[in-house]
Amino acid sequence: MLSYLVRRLLVAIPTLLGVTFIVFSIVRVLPGDPAQAMAGVHATQEYIERVRKELGLDLPMHVQYARFLGGLLRGDLGRSLRTGLPVGEEVWTRFIPTLELTAASLFLTLILGITVGILSATKPYSLYDHASMFLSLAGLSMPVFWLGLMLMLLFSVRLGWFPAAGRGGLRHLVLPSVTLAASSVALVARFTRSTLLEVLRQEYITTARAKGVRESRAIFVHALRNALIPIVTIVGLRFGALLSGAVLTETVFAWPGVGRLVVDSVSARDYPVIQGAVLVIAACFVFINIAVDLLYGVINPRIRYD
């Protein structure tokens, strides 16, 4: 297990290097003069030169990349063109809210998705099953930003139950996390249903039932344990979708997270911040995927990492 972890981390190194190279390139492949593009159309020549110097755009490319990596290792991602603050600081203060939002959504996905899926699988082709499977299909097709607007319209504009925007207590978290979780809940519910139905057809379930095991025990103890492995995999793989959805959800609800920071920085052409925020999200995603891989082994001891 330990050697597997080490190997996975080693394989992640070229991927992460590639990610840093792409992020590094964002600024360098801007059409025309990158310094001019970053400074904006109305910038003075003096300001353009300052941007060029600050980012070292006048140096040879490999020196620039080496400097970029060196800065990265020291946690130095440059300064925001908009606020002048260090990028690391800007990204970090925005990172916690995003973590809070995705964690809450992941929690909802696990609890709601698996519960709805189990209930559907225990009563397949019932009215409940059809209704929940249709709802989940709708959940998968709805654009996350529109769902957010509709929930906002209903629960904050009309009913006044939850605040429409911003971050604060638990009440602020409800609408954004439900919005972000919706498509994942739908996917996990459908997946749980089909996986559990497949397991319930296995012979050892028939054996358990024949022995006179209560149906609830057959489902929850015998079947669910084996169905759980692929389900957890899917939940883990949803993390990327959640990070991606957070970009849109945070914009709808004015949630001060990293996703919104990316969007705002793209609109403001604040390239150092774009680089920092994108890098953090991608690195996070790479490590989460490794963690999900390791989790299989914990749930299913039959999997050997060798």
Binding site: P14, T15, L16, G18, V19, F21, I22, V23, I26, V29, L30, P31, L137, A138, L140, S141, M142, P143, V144, F145, W146, L149, M150, M152, L153, V157, F239, G240, A241, L243, S244, G245, V247, L248, T251, V252, V262, V263, V266, S267, Y271, I274, V278, I281, A282, A283, F285, V286
Partner: protein, 277 residues
């Protein structure tokens, strides 16, 4: 024939195909179907609720919302088709060559795909837009580029399986060149996963392109793009909820249509693909 019969018997897929067909008709015949000019504004009539003259109401500039949504079908379907085409044209050959030849080339391609897939979902498209600048064409290109890794992966997987088959060996024994084997024998056998993937990608393309529009990074006003329309609607959500409701409904329906059709095609063409998409 078997495939078509299976598809028709699949009721949900048929429903999906119908939805897609209706949107296609909207897109092609937009000028004849739309009751008003989607660009003509009249500030005196701004943010009106639905009425007999304007079935879905008017937007913040007094433009007819129904007409804008109908014309928006054109924009969204075109964006979806072109971005999927970009993913297809670039991704399929790379995936096929990578799977067929293997070796160092395959290794490099796969690491490249790993790197691109490290940017989850819409983030890769946002990175591309950050470089190229916002706009309809750039958004299309961005979504197309972010589809490439998926095509490479799927096609490579199919080719890996196929290249060991006897008919490939037979072709090689007959002296057929590698490229001819790929083009004439392998790719035609990869059609099922490619068709299924493309249908499902059309759904994703509509979601992502409208997402970029919503963020202000895609099609720019006054283009009647569904996501862009939604982005502007948020400001008026209290006074005029209809401006936020209807464009999103159009997106959801179109995405649902392509998803159902894709699911049905998968079951009809090759049920073994179920675990892969």
């Amino acid at each position: 024939m078997g495939t078509l019969r299976r598809l028709i018997r699949h009721r949900l897929a048929l429903f999906g195909a119908l939805v897609v067909l209706i949107f296609a008709v909207f897109a092609i015949f937009a000028p004849y179907i739309a009751p008003h000019d989607p660009y003509r504004f009249s500030l005196a009539k701004k943010l009106q609720p639905p009425s007999s003259l304007h079935p879905l109401g008017t937007d913040e500039l007094g433009r007819d919302l129904l007409s804008r949504i109908i014309y928006g079908t054109r924009v969204s379907l075109m964006m979806a088709l072109i971005s999927v085409a970009i993913g297809l044209v670039v991704g399929v050959p790379i995936g096929a060559l990578s799977g067929f030849y293997g070796g160092v080339f395959d290794l490099l391609v796969q690491r490249g795909v790993d790197i691109l897939l490290a940017f989850p979902g819409i983030l890769l498209a946002i990175v591309v837009v950050a470089i190229l600048g916002p706009g309809l064409w750039n958004a299309m290109l961005a979504v197309g580029i972010s589809f490439i890794p998926t095509y490479v992966r799927v096609v490579r997987g199919s080719v890996l399986e196929l290249r060991e088959k006897e008919f490939v060996e037979a072709a090689r024994a007959l002296g057929t060149g590698s490229l001819a084997i790929i083009g004439r024998h392998i790719l035609p056998n990869c059609l099922a996963p490619i068709i299924v993937l493309s249908t499902l990608q059309l759904a994703s393309a509509i979601l992502w392109a409208s997402g970029l529009g919503f963020l202000g990074l895609g099609a720019q006003p006054p283009t009647p793009e569904w996501g862009t329309m939604l982005g502007r609607s948020q400001v008026y959500i209290r006074a005029a909820p209809h401006v936020a409701i209807f464009p999103g409904l159009a997106i959801a329906l179109a995405v649902l249509g392509f998803n159902l059709l894709g699911d049905g095609l998968r079951d009809a063409l090759d049920p073994r693909l179920k675990g892969r998409f």
